[in-house]
């Protein structure tokens, strides 16, 4: 082994620490209170989930007119019906009957010509209009034209369907996503979304504990020492320092280092002949738009794209995966994990995708344990703050964005009028 190989490499974009690039964020510890406070959680429900754009699916899930998805949003006290109309447009509605507010569709999705309420048979068309009321003449001055389903603003970006529960969203989806949306333009989402494997689990942890865990790679060398012994770490980069990071007003991204000297296991070696793996030394910059792996680092594995408030789109060459974290209570979260692949053309490719998927799933199983263990002691009061290192900058930035939406500490400071600066 040469001396060069054992010295630490500088994987940062310009030699500066990440925090030095964003001095306005400071370096102080960040408070634990937002992860355990019921008051904070109530504000998140109101000021984040009822205001921000939320990813609720992909266009491929509802390809034909009449195809629909049901998305329950307990944190917002509602359920959303997302449907493709006869005109091909995707619309969203509160999944609530106009009669006595029964939940209209109870399943997770399907295909239909109309929506009929199970309670009294009120029926709605694909564009939300009320089309039929049994025993209509017994009602008093029923104005059917005004009793359609309550619409919810919906739009798409790169095939991802978003909704916004604000009756009058302050920004369009395009404006809301801003620059991070632009950086992913040209990534082959449509091609890679042919096959989707998804899992869901209800975790006993605050939703931000989940978010934090997936916007840093510092934990890889320890938590994933068995599953990923040398994929994201190497002698020259033992702590999985990222190759780049970029913070936007609300969103952020990080390029994750990949060890091109990674030694595959015997089964991985076979799988690697057919693509689909995240660590691959044959990855092609040509297949990736300029906004992905923006520094064009040859030791690159994937980019994390953290879209506020609860959506991750993590892209690699040949596969991408997404997370949606849906809070249920201050200490409970419904988590959806999805891994996407192009359509397998051969048995070899199918095998390769299966191996990639299984490894991904097992790695996530290591993460899940930690998330619940953390939450189980958070309320102990033993600690009041998290201590963050340079490579945990994205977590610090998330705290800032949360506070901008929630205004919890601003309110507190006003209350005690002592001008004590909260560490956010």
């Amino acid at each position: 082994m040469t001396a060069v190989a054992t010295s630490r490499i500088d994987v940062t974009s310009n030699g500066k620490t990440w925090h030095a690039q964003y001095p306005e964020l400071g370096t102080e510890p960040v408070p634990i209170e937002p992860y355990i406070s019921p008051e904070y959680f109530a504000l998140e429900r109101e000021r984040i989930f009822r205001k921000a754009w939320l990813n609720v699916g992909r266009e491929e899930e509802i390809p034909k007119p009449g195809d629909y998805l049901v998305k329950d949003l307990p944190a917002c006290g509602t359920s959303i019906l997302i449907v493709r109309g006869k005109d091909g447009r995707i619309r969203a509605f509160h999944n609530v009957c106009s009669h006595r507010s029964n939940k209209l569709m109870w399943n997770r999705g399907g295909s239909c010509q109309m929506f009929a309420c199970k309670f009294h048979g009120w029926t709605y068309g694909l564009e939300g209009q009320l089309t039929f009321v049994p025993d209509e003449e017994s009602f008093f001055d029923l104005k059917k034209g005004e009793l359609g389903l309550t619409p919810v603003t919906a739009d798409t970006w790169e095939g991802f369907i978003f909704i916004n529960l604000d009756p009058q969203p302050k920004e369009s989806l395009k404006e809301y996503l801003g620059e991070i949306g632009e950086t992913l333009k040209g990534y082959p989402f449509a091609e890679y979304s042919a096959t989707c494997y998804g899992w869901t689990t209800e975790l006993r942890a605050n939703w931000k504990i989940l978010k934090d865990a997936f916007q840093e790679a510092y934990h890889v060398a320890f938590l994933h020492k068995r599953s990923l012994p040398d994929s994201f770490t190497s002698k020259s980069n033992p702590f999985a320092h990222g190759t780049d990071c970029k913070l936007y007003p609300r969103h952020r991204k990080m390029s994750v280092y990949g060890n091109m000297e990674h030694r595959p296991t015997p089964v991985e070696e076979i799988a690697s002949q057919f693509g689909s793996l995240i660590i691959r030394n044959d990855f092609s910059m040509d297949r990736l738009p300029a906004g992905v792996n923006p520094t064009r680092n040859p030791s690159w594995a994937l980019d994390l794209n953290v879209i506020f408030p609860n959506f991750f789109v993590d892209v690699s060459d040949g596969t991408y995966f997404t997370y949606n974290m849906w809070p249920l209570a201050v200490d409970r979260t419904l988590w959806e994990v999805r891994a996407y692949y192009p359509k397998a053309q051969s048995a070899g490719q199918r095998f390769s995708q299966e191996y990639s998927k299984v490894i991904f799933r097992d790695v996530i199983m290591e993460d899940c344990s930690t998330l619940e263990q953390t939450q189980s002691v958070l309320a102990s009061g033993a600690k009041t703050h998290f201590v963050l290192q340079d490579q945990e900058l994205l977590i610090r930035h998330d705290h800032k964005v949360h506070e901008e939406f929630v205004g919890f500490y601003k309110k507190q400071n006003k209350k005690n009028k002592k001008g004590v600066t909260a560490n956010v």
Partner: protein, 109 residues
């Protein structure tokens, strides 16, 4: 003797087919978690050296219209993907210090 599941040229793998030729991830994962390391290792040791021949054989068929015995052989390879982390990484059937697999629910088939 029961009917063979796998193609004739892969009869050496037939003893593993009943247990490991499984159509869904859920079934394969359950089989992994309910097997001993000895059973998993025996299956791994038998299939790994045959994978080159198996994949070459399977690749001659379109993925969506395989003969039934080839389909069973493909399922067998997917079980190799399922047990690989147990053998190669965790040295035990389940994820070491891992989450309860029953709580991680597949949304796909």
């Amino acid at each position: 003797m029961s009917e063979r599941l796998l193609p004739e040229s892969f009869q050496d793998l037939e003893p593993f087919a009943a247990a490991w030729s499984l159509a869904t991830e859920r079934e394969r994962n359950r089989q992994r978690l309910s097997s001993t390391m000895e059973e998993i290792q025996a299956f791994y040791n038998a299939l790994l050296p045959r994978m080159e021949a198996v994949v070459a054989y399977l690749n001659q068929f379109p993925l969506d219209s395989m003969p039934a015995d080839a389909q069973q052989l493909l399922y067998l390879t997917l079980s190799l993907a399922e047990v690989a982390p147990a053998v190669e990484l965790f040295k035990q059937p389940s994820v070491a210090d891992g989450y309860d697999a029953a709580r991680f629910v597949q949304m796909h088939k």
